[in-house]
Amino acid sequence: MTYTPYKIKERILLFSLIITTILFTVISQAFALEVSSKRDCVVCHIMWLDDFRTDQETLVDFQPSNVLMKDTQGVVSSEKICFSCHDGYVKDSRYITWKYNRHPVFVKPSKNITVPPELPLSVKGEIYCGTCHSAHGQGAAPKGDREGRTAVYREVNIDSGLCEKCHRNEADYKRTNSHPLHRTDLKLPDKLFTLGSTKASHKNEVICQSCHDVHGAKGKKILIMNNNNSELCITCHEKQKSLINTKHDLRLTLPDEKNLKDQPLSESGPCGACHTPHKGATQKLWARPFKKGNPASELCLSCHGDDRPYKIKGVGEFSHPIDTELTTKESMPDKLPLFAEDGSKTEIGRVQCFTCHDIHRWDPVSLENKGGKDVEGDASNSFLRMTNISSELCLECHKSKSQLMRSDHNLAVTAPDEKNIQGFKPTVSGPCGVCHVPHNAVAKRLWAKKLSGNKDFVTQLCTTCHNKEGAAKNKLIGEYYHPVDITLDRFSVFQVYDITSTLPLYDSGGNIVGNGKLVCTTCHEPHIWDPNNPIIDYEGKNIEGDARNSFLRKTNSPSSDLCKTCHRSKAFVDGTDHDLIITRPEARNLLGQTPEESGQCGVCHLVHNGTNNIKLWARPYGKISQGEGIVDALCNSCHSKGNPAEDKIPQIASHPEKRLINNLMHNNRTRIDYAPIYDNITGKETNVGNISCPTCHNAHQWSPLHKEKGSYKNLEGNATNSFLRNVSYNNICIDCHGMDALFRYKYFHDPVDRVEPASKRINNLNQEFR
């Protein structure tokens, strides 16, 4: 076989044609692939289209500038590009992205935002779609899987982690006093999720997207719903919803008010007036001015404090103490919260405003009762945590005062028409509220009634009612009564009284002090009718008391424990013949009280409503014979015919009238030879006068040698006891009668023996000895 040159050329041409065809096919397929691949990119990266690099006129303008700061992409993340697919004809995002509010774009991040390098800004340094979104990002997922949450995020956004990358201040919520995140201790209502909230990995976990919706937010600040009326807040904080339309809904009471962020109420809503979800002034997301202190009170005082710019309803100079630690277990409330120093609730803590008040709810019983703008609150509402109409709230801590309810000091029973300074009757103010108001009181002790008179402060408190025109006008103390408004200094000099007694003394301001004055409440505790036996069945108003109750701090019968607290030297009357509970239980004092009712002391002394000035004598004065003084009348009131001690009447009791005695050497109470001389008329101690019964006798002590109680037997005495003041050899008698007085002493009341000469007495004694 031979080949001509033509045939060779022809074959070469054919071969070339075949090769060219194959190459053309391969190249065109490669080109087609490139076009297809390119088209997928150019779906978004429109500026990569070659059409812009021809001479032909394009239907859209070429904008070659990059969006990103780094020169890595062409124009892609323009809003228009996103919308061109998300308009419903590829993906319908109209209603989430373009109908409602969305994350700000094409703005520079604020100073509070720190955008990390992995989330790029635009060439202008602005946030744009691509800051968060990228088809090539780690969070990109075709349909939004559970891990990545949604499609085309640059970073996965598990539990709003992507948000927190920029919003670091909000993420660090404790430091910035922002709304807590990632906590699961509150139940998130299902309603929240139907409103557009995003569920977190853990049930009830709060994340940024619990409240915010980056696209499709129906409220401002990209909140999932409008919050102008705090609708979103109360979706979770449902209990606090009760604030709306109360006085704490500032839209009603202070419509022009603005919060710390200068937001008017129309923008902040009722919750936002006091709380801001991010960057509060202090805890509780506080959105108002705040001074240092415990938030559980200081938040309230930011408006209600008298020294604050908002003097709306100040608590006044005299207000219930706050930031007070309750030291005894008894005073710990059962139903009210106490607070730690950081304002958190704690079992053992301090009393703060929040202890009594739930500032979100006007009426603790009724959610319907909102009070209203001009309604003045009372014990049944006023944002109290529990109704106080029967002073239940007060008694949560002041448990020891609960007996007042079952006593005459419960004015709801005894004086229902009495009004306090607020004009409230006891049925409105509660029993405590008649005398005490927690805020804006008239005086210390949260006094709720007008004070008058010039007596000491505490006495004025009592005389508010216990005066001739007061509610307790039938319970006055009479013309003669135990001295009050006195200090015990002069007694302390003689060391008769222990001024550190268990009864309180008060300074002029009503404070309990060691060297204070004796006032009504020294002996009386106005909240406790019976110090020993709590009244269970209160019979009704105006119980007549006696020494066992009558609001006394200590029981005073049968043993006069109260009196003896101060009058200690008189305590030895117990069990002696002068203890009439033993010796004359049927005896009655001027008020008709038996010794058991009046107590040992009350037999002879009336603390109130006495008719006798001298020694507040509780019995009719006895008759006195010539030479006797008024002091003798006291003794004679018993030691006389027809009276309890009629079997103990001395035949002669008087000292010769004209023989005046000077007792300057015996007028010291602390000395063993004390022998008081009394003025016959006034009954007061004097240095020159006549001898009377008490000169020799101390009616409160059986034996001068033994400072002790009696034997509880009716004894016959002798010269060593018999209520004698002393048996010393230097008693007052010796001054005039010499040592002979010691022997006459016993026979003083014997009209015969007392005048015998000493020699005769000695002889008689000798004979007796023989």
């Binding site: 297809s36 032909q56 006129e57 859209v60 061109s84 373009w98 109908k99």
Partner: protein, 310 residues
């Protein structure tokens, strides 16, 4: 030598043929001029599509507000119907609309995956669900055509990338299409229209074309191509035909409307005095018997009415 000459001859023929089939590559803007008549801003939020009732009233889909707005032919507000919800007569982000010759209003209730039918007064008549091939996503009916042919209802299922054909009762008759770039395949089919021969024109959004089908789904032609030059689409959205059977296609991103022959030859861009007329994101378009072009501007929240001059 003879063979070589034969080859040369064939190459020359091939060259001449290629010249013949090469499209017009003139760079000058080809215009179809229009005259502005009026526009309507009925308070819609991102409206998507419209249809003209036999009496000339304009039915506008205000999907984001879950309602249909009815306007007079002069643009005056008449009434609206529908609200958000899943109940009968309620909508969830509807997108498409068509009005049949017998005065039935068909709404592609996209978010509720169904078709709802009303009378011209907005009274609810009935509904039927659009089946989905995917349990994961559900159907996504974005447009509907009430055809005269056998009263067929053509439904574009955007998410499932096909066209489903129902009878008036809501029984599926047949369907065609799947995800892809070949002819008869779709990447997100959108708005449709039909010509007098009941041929169907479907906007194939991400394939940047309009596909023309016979009534039973056989592919006829592809209109438009990918790009930003004349005759290209970047995001085709709306399609309609005029009385000359010219196919008008709106492009949302580029903001223009272009005209083609029904076989795909580019005719021109809708212009105003020989300069392209730019719309604020044109979507659904419609040409009435008076040759008035109604353009729904989704971003502009309005309907612009133009008179086609050329």
């Amino acid at each position: 030598m003879t063979a070589l000459r034969r080859i040369y001859f064939h190459l020359i023929l091939l060259f001449l043929f290629s010249i013949l089939i090469t499209p017009d590559i003139s760079f000058a803007l080809k215009c179809i001029n229009t005259k502005f008549l009026f526009d309507m801003k009925p308070g819609a939020n991102q409206p998507s599509d419209l249809s003209i009732a036999p009496n000339g009233d304009i039915y506008l889909v205000d999907g984001v507000n879950n309602r249909i707005i009815v306007l007079g032919s002069d643009g005056r507000w008449k009434f609206d119907f529908g609200k958000e919800g899943t109940g009968s007569g309620w909508f969830k982000y509807p997108l498409g609309i068509d009005i049949s010759n017998d005065g039935k209003v068909f709404i592609a209730d996209s978010g509720n995956h169904r078709i709802q039918v009303f009378d011209l007064k907005g009274k609810y008549l009935y509904k039927f669900n659009v089946e989905s091939e995917s349990n994961a996503y559900g159907s996504d009916p974005v447009d509907i055509i009430a055809s005269r042919l056998k009263d067929y209802l053509y439904v574009a299922d955007n998410e499932n990338h096909n066209i489903k054909v129902y009878n008036r009762k809501g029984d599926l008759q047949f369907k065609w299409g799947k995800f892809g770039e070949e002819y008869s395949e779709f990447r997100y089919p959108g708005i449709m229209t039909a010509n007098e021969y009941n041929e169907i024109f479907v906007v194939d959004v991400l394939n940047t074309r309009v596909q023309k089908f016979e009534p039973f789904g056989k592919f006829i032609a592809s209109i438009g191509s990918w790009g930003v030059l004349q005759g290209n689409f970047f995001r085709p959205k709306g399609v309609t035909l005029d009385k000359y059977n010219r196919v008008f296609v709106s492009d949302g991103y580029m903001g223009v409307i272009q005209a083609f022959t029904d076989m795909g030859t580019f005719l021109g861009v809708v212009c105003k005095k020989n300069k392209k007329r730019v719309f604020d994101y044109p979507v659904g378009i419609h040409i009435d018997k008076n040759n008035r072009l109604y353009v729904v501007e989704m971003k502009g929240n309005k309907i612009t009415v133009l008179k086609i001059v050329d």
